[in-house]
């Protein structure tokens, strides 16, 4: 299953401070969308509003709507817990649960909400999710060892396995490779290419080549200055953004002539 996301005129606040202003964007199902832009322009902030993780921060709030296949995530009565199980998230720093084995890490999300799962089903799900994250062959002999004992790149793939184990419709990734070496980065990029067959993927990255390699569409965010809110400047096919952008700011940024 995979679903599309439509955002209408979204403003995002940290208490009084407006960090992101007036973003409208349509993200297709089964595609990879990259968010790029200078540091502090609100990419992470905006990404976290797409699965209601923004409001976890004290003072965090949102105006506007985010539609998942037409259903507003911010409508009254919508449970953020349900939203987050439909829209998974992979963080910048790999964060497997340190007290859990590899196997338990993969099953962590599945066992939430008091769900019981038969051992054979659990085994199958663990294998399927780890294969889906291209990690199965590396860990299949040590599923009961702690997840924290893996390399950084393996840990990040474990986090992806944990995310796809709950069968979300959308996967959000906030700079998933920034803490990883080039080989691990390539492994994750390959994985993102496969993930888009089944999921809608949104990825924040500072690496232009990465955005160009993995994404179908690219959104460029920018800020006018410190203390000003970030805005969506341009959103288009990745090829267009990198070769023939409509905005001067986009061109300056993707060509490295910035500031």
């Amino acid at each position: 299953m995979s679903k599309r996301i439509d955002v209408n005129d979204l403003n995002v606040y940290y208490s009084k401070f407006r960090a992101v202003e007036g973003v409208s964007i349509n993200i297709e199902a089964k595609s990879v969308t990259a968010f790029i832009g200078p540091s502090g322009c609100g990419k992470s902030t905006f990404l976290r509003t797409l699965n209601r993780m923004h409001e976890v921060i004290p003072g965090g709030r949102v105006e506007g709507e985010v539609l998942l296949d037409g259903d507003n995530l911010y409508a009254p009565g919508v449970d953020p817990v349900t939203v987050r199980s439909q829209i998974g998230m992979v963080f910048q720093r790999p964060n497997p649960f340190p007290t859990m084995s590899i196997r338990d890490n993969v099953l962590a999300g599945v066992k939430l909400n008091g769900k019981k799962i038969a051992k054979s089903d659990a085994d199958a799900l663990v294998e399927k999710s780890l294969r889906g994250a291209n990690l199965w062959n590396e860990v299949k002999d040590r599923l009961d060892k702690p997840g924290a004992g893996l390399s950084g790149g393996q840990q990040q793939r474990l986090c992806i396995a944990r995310t796809i184990a709950v069968k979300p419709d959308v996967i959000l990734m906030d700079e998933p490779c920034s803490a990883l070496d080039p080989i691990s980065t390539l492994a994750i990029e390959d994985l993102i290419n496969e993930l888009k067959n089944d999921y809608t993927v949104v990825i924040v990255t500072h690496n232009m080549q990465q955005a160009a390699r993995v994404s179908d569409k690219t959104a460029f965010f920018n800020i006018a200055g410190t203390g000003k809110p970030g805005k969506l400047i341009e959103y288009n096919d990745t090829a267009t953004i990198f070769s023939n952008p409509a905005e001067q700011a986009t061109e300056d940024y993707v060509s490295g002539r910035f500031g």
């Binding site: 817990v81 998230m89 007290t99 939430l112």
Partner: protein, 311 residues
Amino acid sequence: MTSTAVKSRAAASGRAGDKIFSGAALGAGVLILITLFAVALFLLIQALPTFSADPAEITGGEGFFAYIFPIIIGTVIAAAIALVIATPIGIGVALFISHFAPRQIAGPLGYVIDLLAAIPSVIYGAWGYMVLAPALVPGYEWLSQNLGFIPIFEGPASQTGKTILTASIVLAVMVLPIITSLSREIFLQTPKLHEEAALALGATRWEMITTAVLPFARPGIISAVMLGLGRALGETMAVALVLSTGGLIPSLIKTGNQTIAAEIALNFPEAFGLRLAELIAAGLVLFLITLVVNMIARAIIARHKEFSGAN
């Protein structure tokens, strides 16, 4: 050339700093060991007459073991009940402060609890026998009438309320602030990273606590409980004031039972000669109990080292 000279000088002073620090750390460690050893040695030497004396001369007339055994059991029962009461409450309050209470409430509440830890035990004891004990009498009556068939609630209930259960409840109140403030500190240290990981998987707040916070805090909670246990085992004044002592009996709501620390405190002022040696031997036994309990706690923590997140 100058720059290499500067570098090597900096490196040399860095090494000196390292040496001083490791020396100081070693010194402190050795000092603690020596102190502990000296205490143990003192207790042992002073207690020796007890073990060589004629059993008939020991209090009770049947030797040291017969004398000490009932009060060991009394000590352990009182401390165990105190922990059974205080641990869940302490963890609950700590979680409330760290993860549920709004900031305006969490701050003052934490402060009040820290203050509770600073109240002298004689105050707790006075409160225990003047307020708590009489208040519990009707409850004890009810227990003896309705659950009296269970040995621990066998009647007739004490009419003063000065029982080992009352003493245990006072102890629980005393160890509660220790367990609460230490647990709260540890809960607050849970990495945001792991809390967010749980939330992003669709965890409710409570599930976030069971998947991210409690596993992370587990060794810390055990340490907090052990510190509380240390206080409960060694507490003298409160127990001495609250408990109306007697021989070892299973019922928790009748007059009876005694703890080592209170036994020492009550008898120490008039003790001399062999009686003094006996009390010191009792102190030695308390020291050993505390040691064993701490070793067990360390073993429990170490067993899960691989999954502690320390790597």
